[in-house]
Amino acid sequence: MSDRKLIDLVDITKQYGDSVVLDDLNLYIRENEFLTLLGPSGCGKTTTLRIIGGFETPDKGKVIFDGKDITRLAPNERQLNTVFQKYALFTHMTITENIAFGLKIKKKSKQYIKDKIDYALKLVNLDGFGNRMPDSLSGGQQQRIAIARAIVNEPKVLLLDEPLGALDLKMRQDMQYELIRLKNELGITFVYVTHDQEEALTMSDTIVVMNQGYIQQVGTPEMIYNEPKNAFVADFIGESNIISATMVEDKLVNILGANFVCVDTGFGRNQPVDVVIRPEDIDLVKPEDGIIKGRVTSLIFKGVHYEMEVMANGREWLVHSTDLSPVGSEVGIRVDPFDIQIMNRPESEDEEVVTIDEP
């Protein structure tokens, strides 16, 4: 990944009727970056992708691609290609004809097209499928053909709109590795849209978390997971305990009446804050060793770990642990200082969704 900006979205606003889908969105995408737009449905992630692809025109704002304004350019005039949700293959053409479509439009030579098709089919591990019809392929195979069809055109950017959404779990996981391999082999920029946080964490260089038309946080997967900027991000990425608390002083926070040591500074004395603690970061210890005491109220075996709920200081705490504490047993709760993530509490509804520029 280089530091050169390839795509720059400037003050993008998009409305459908009365509902604002994107409000003054600013975002840049770097060359060779794997950037994921992540959020719940209706958050504006697909609209953002469609604006980059040219299938939607923003009401306000500009799309800069490689230094040039392409806001009003038709999709066929842009140097990028899209892999659509549910594949969108041309069902009346063979696999070869599907892949050749873009190259034939650009009037490439027969030999060039043939070489490209061979190369692309090998790249997506579907050698020898050229004469089949799309309907005779499985979902995963169709998706790989859709990718092959896009990349033979040598786009600078590949846009992927929930490409794995229609696949089953196992296939989805395989395709994630496939996509990472493809990106490394091709050395191009991927812009990926998904609502699946696991997909985003696995594949991305950069994750953009969106909600209700606003960017909530931009950062590496580790940053997004470990240091969520607000309650929405913390809640959307993985499971978490989000608790109202008060900052006593620097590096000390009062959670439900008990003081916890943390690593955050600069919040000011007695400032109300939100605290995020990941369930796997809570240690269950002997009652007398804990910072607070509680009682286990439920226990579920999840395979990798046990999921427990602990009632302590008037609240259910979600805990993931490989060690079992039976229901009804008394336990102590401890959290390491660096596992406590402090966030400013929004003072009004409006503030809950804020635009945050890329770090």
Partner: protein, 292 residues
Amino acid sequence: MSRDKKVEKKLKEELQGKKKRNNALLASPYIIWMAIFIIVPLFMIAYYGLTDKENGSFTLANIKLILDPVNLKALWLSIRLSVISTLICLLLAYPIAMILRSLNMKRSSFIVFIFILPMWMNFLLRTIAWQNILERNGILNTILSFLHLPTLNIINTSAAIILGMVYNYLPFMILPIYNVLIKIDNNVINAARDLGANGLQTLLKITLPLSLPGVISGITMVFVPSLTTFVISNILGGNKVVLIGNVIEQQFKVVNNRNAGAGLSLVLMVFVLASMALLSKYDKEAEGKSIW
């Protein structure tokens, strides 16, 4: 095979047999309907068409009637007029269906409703209305002369019949094309654009081929009734334009020779079947393939 398995297999077979019998029972009303209203009349036409009027012996004379120059001329005119009407319907219907597709559901279903609305009125009534409009002293010419424009005399010409066919059968072209077009995923169109195709290339290489099944069934649904009509040519053609449908009608109702009428019907049926066979060749995945 163990005994248990044998019993199991037998039970399974029995169950399946029962299922099959049940299915046959459920289908029986349709089969009876087909027999009474489709198979029997077909055999009757074939019987009359291939027998002599006087003594009921086998003859090809009724079929050979088509070689009579008057009948041949009528058949040729029928084919010409129905091909022209079908083409006009296609050229009108495809853009309309494309526009309907691009509208949102609420508005497009309203417009589809508008197109279907005239079909709720009696077919004869609609055609007679056109007669009143196109007559020498009809509504159209009254308006034209009021505006001091030259009057049109298209009643009792082929043009009037084509107009009548297009007016009556246009919805049968629009609906199947529209039905196929709305099933095309928007992203398939977007994908073509994304891969560099402009609007025209997308239409020719993606939309048109994908909508072919609808076009084919539209053509069938306009061409066949146009080819066999006698009502439209009666009302809008006077006695001046004689189509093969009129010839057959006269054999039954005026000449009172049902053998001759049936013979000519058989010939016409061959043309209809031939045209459909030709179309189905271009339409391997057509929705109407059950016909073949």
